[in-house]
């Protein structure tokens, strides 16, 4: 047996525990609806499963990545999800111009939480693998949070992310 997984995973598990919810313990009666990668944020969009996969796509296709952190039982996440899924412009840009990922667990990359781990939180990553900490919402205490009334700002931020950074490399 190989012992000692990356210690970073241990840290992560500690961090994740504040977010986690034992979905495995749902009642096992009746037929379950298969879980989707979209989780309701746009069933017609192509979602990356993991951050690693999303970063690969961002580089391979030279498109910015949008990471949506949310929780299934958070009312703010739910209301944001509803307007996101129903807004045709948002869905079109997400489909055509961005690599998209929605996560209910945090990753090990601390750059994805520039001002903390809260939900809903939307972070853009340039295909140069630079987190776009400059693309923010309206709230100075939670700079990457959006409310339903901020949907036009989010759309404008999605378009801002499309203007890729020039890399020195």
């Amino acid at each position: 047996m190989i012992r000692g997984l990356l210690s970073v995973l241990l840290v992560l598990v500690a961090v994740s525990s504040s977010l986690a919810k034992p979905e495995k313990n749902i009642a096992k009666r009746g037929k379950r609806i298969p879980q989707t990668l979209s989780r309701g944020w746009g069933d017609q969009l192509i979602w990356a499963q993991t951050y690693e996969e999303a970063l690969y796509w961002a580089r391979a296709q030279n498109k910015p990545l949008m990471v949506i952190f949310h929780l299934e039982d958070c009312p703010h996440s739910a209301s944001m999800k509803k307007v996101f899924a129903e807004d045709k412009d948002i869905q079109k840009v997400a489909d055509e111009d961005l690599i998209i990922l929605n996560l209910v667990y945090e990753t090990t990359d601390k750059h994805l939480s520039p001002d903390g781990q809260y939900v809903p939180r939307i972070i853009f990553v340039d295909p140069s693998m630079t987190v776009r900490a400059d693309i923010t919402g309206r709230y100075s205490n939670r700079m990457y949070a959006y409310e339903p009334s901020d949907i036009k700002l989010l759309l404008s931020n999605m378009q801002k992310a499309k203007k890729l950074l020039k890399t020195e490399l």
Copy 2:
């Protein structure tokens, strides 16, 4: 902007490129079928989305984790998936006794590829976060590979994984 994501991610992207397939480039005609987390390995099972999430569940529920690495366009993966999804005993143990994750991209944890990155490959992880490199299939050159005819061996390995390791801690 925050520069310099974890260098490990750069390594990862290099590694992933050998596995990746630009699914985003699918034809955009007609209505898409929402992507599922099961990817056909058992629509009625509860799948973890990411390795981080799966490790959290394994610890929280004190259950072993089974990670299935596969590829959508690999015929060996496809034939293994079919027997896995149709075998009632396999599905029952996966549902009741294991935390399950299927991935088409590699993770950053090298312990998940004790003898290389190939598909299909099935790795068990004890809730003590120890990779069970001792739980192997029949093939000495690809110790964690399974073929459809190995389904009973896989079931027996899933049951073996349920006997948790004693940790010294």
